[in-house]
Point group: C2
Chain length 382, copies 2
């Protein structure tokens, strides 16, 4: 039996039917009151999820576009920045900043480890740290399954003349990120993760301090010029044709998020992660990410030497229509990553773990059926 | 009775149910064979519509993003370009090129008039034309309803060391544009016009000559770096997360375009335009665009002095759920623009004209009911 795919990947994630239905309605024009209603609903919802009073800009682009925009809008060529690089997406920040000629100080974090405020402090207080105008960091590094502690880094930078830019593409709406309280100047999010939407939209919040930096930036930009988006946003519109169906979908998914409550959503993700980790341990497998920084949105699992983890992934996909992720770059074939973000509940996790048990056995890993699901059941609250 | 909106606007346009249904299916992951199938189908379809053997790149952005990308990928700061500016979108090309520090020679065309090869030739052969590395022009200027003759300009530039970049965002797939035969180096298209899709994707074809220019360009770019898209395209994938649902929709709409045949689609648009112009004249109204350059995709109509054309537009929208466009910038309140592009047929035009007759009468313009629809009926072939 071929089933609809269950996406247990770190994005794209499953999309509720209500949201898909909203996006499939007959097209409407974007310069109308009707579209303005959806746009406004989305924008209110974004402020709630970003936990901010700052304007949240919506770009028709992938998250990478918004990462680039965040760099070219607040810096100028040659500006010195510190980038924490502990995975594929930290590395992308470095690549973009390099490409645009920033003076990049890279903090190389072993994959699977978190960045701490102390690490950042050590660099900022050293000679290397002189003149650093911004710290760029990934909130939730999906390539490793690590979540960094943004609050401590925010506290560190509050009284320094240094911007904090956080790539929260895979985390926002899934785990707590208090943009204003923690003093995060720019938060970048993407539609295809905890927002329960298809890819194609990126969201960016910009603080007062960051707007002051926008004024000084000398990079030329047009499509990604934050000022144009802010100006249009004040009139409840967009500077260029918006990705209208995705925005209509966002207004619907943000309504669902509001109804459920951010706190409850964070708690659900935390519980799913705990259950998943308990199941992994019960199977005798090892977690890849440092336990005190293990993500609530994605669980990375080390492959036992004796089995072909890519075959496990393939069985899950082809035999059971459940998609999980493998390792990226040097971790290819070495880890398995189970996403549990967005429109995912305990039943989805149980289904995934029950399939994982079977896939492991098929691959020659000796376990007793029921081990993982029982361990998860004991932890799940639903 | 409230009806689904009929979009007779120059984008977004109506979307066939089949395409909307395809986009509303449960989400799939973009790094899979299944998505690769859709992506490949779309790419084959794009080559057909672009009439090119060049790679056609797909960006998650609005058309404006692709306009910027076309400039930053083949030029360098200070490069001299000639831009034909005869409306809002010609003006946008000028603004982007200015922003990125190109040396812009602007050809100001009176709104409603076309650009000819002779006009371009005159500039290129003059002192002003020395060192011009590229000519940028709008194929179909929706703000005025004018279509420019790209073939003659292409012929002019074939043996010159000068790139031809055409903004065909509103025209491609609706009127003939023979990318390879006419020697167009870069063609830019958008999803929300004749492609019968929502906004959110932009398509760009890049010629061999343009790729050589890409090698020399010194603008920093990352998200819009054409080379990254080409490299991924060769592996049937994308460098960053693609706007997957829109791509799935595109594979479906391009299948419909293929089934119908490009020639037949061009003929349908031509016939719709002729019928629309005949109806306008029968009503005693004047066409805004120069008749020999009047677009087959959008008909612009001068407002008679005695009536409030914005009220006509509002009646069409609010009383009859038919959206047409008004004038932009200095043409606001002075023209009405009826789009007939994409998923629009003769019945849609008849419906629109019958409503237009009523709206004109309500606004105090004295005509006999049936005038416009009869004139259109006599011309329409369906």
């Amino acid at each position: 039996m071929q089933r609809d795919k269950l996406l247990m990947t770190p994005g794209p994630t499953n999309i509720p039917y209500k949201v898909r239905e909203a996006m499939s309605r007959p097209m409407i024009h974007h310069r109308t009151e009707e579209f303005g209603f959806y746009f406004n609903q989305m924008n209110k919802g974004l402020k709630m999820v970003f936990q901010t009073e700052n304007p949240v800009l919506t770009l028709a682009s992938s998250g990478t576009g918004a990462m680039e925009a965040s760099i070219t809008n607040v810096f100028s060529p040659g500006d010195k920045v510190l980038i924490a690089n502990g995975g594929v997406f930290g590395d992308r920040l470095v690549k973009i900043a390099d490409r645009f000629g920033l003076d990049v100080v890279t903090m190389d974090i072993p994959w699977g480890q978190e960045v701490t405020g102390d690490d950042i402090e050590a660099i900022l207080s050293s000679e290397k740290g002189e003149g650093i105008k911004g710290v760029l960091i990934t909130h939730n590094e999906t390539s490793t399954g690590v979540t960094n502690d943004i609050e401590s880094i925010g506290n560190l930078l509050k009284d320094r003349d240094c911007l904090l830019i956080v790539d929260a593409i895979s985390s926002l709406g899934g785990i707590d990120l208090q943009t204003d309280n923690w003093g995060v100047d720019i938060v970048i999010a993407g539609s295809q993760k905890a927002f329960m939407l298809p890819p194609g939209l990126a969201f960016v919040s910009v603080s007062q301090r960051a707007w002051a930096a926008v004024e000084k930036s000398t990079f030329p930009k047009f499509y990604f010029d934050f000022s144009a988006y802010r100006e249009s946003l004040e009139k409840n519109t967009t500077p260029y044709t918006p990705a209208a169906t995705l925005i209509i979908g966002a207004s619907e998914s943000l309504k669902m998020i509001k109804e459920q409550g951010l706190e409850n959503i964070f708690a659900r993700h935390e519980n799913l992660a705990k259950a998943c980790r308990a199941a992994v341990k019960a199977l005798g497998l090892e977690l890849f990410a440092s336990e005190n920084a293990a993500s609530n949105l994605i669980t990375s699992i080390k492959s036992p030497n004796e089995i072909d983890i890519e075959r496990v992934r393939s069985i899950l996909n082809l035999d059971y229509d459940i998609m999980v992720a493998g390792g990226q770059q040097h971790l290819k074939g070495k880890i398995l990553r189970i996403g549990h973000m967005g429109y995912v509940d305990g039943f989805d996790l149980i289904k995934t773990l029950s399939a994982l048990e079977r896939a492991l056995i098929k691959t020659g890993y000796d376990i007793e059926l029921g081990t993982a699901v029982s361990a998860a059941q004991a932890v799940l609250e639903y």
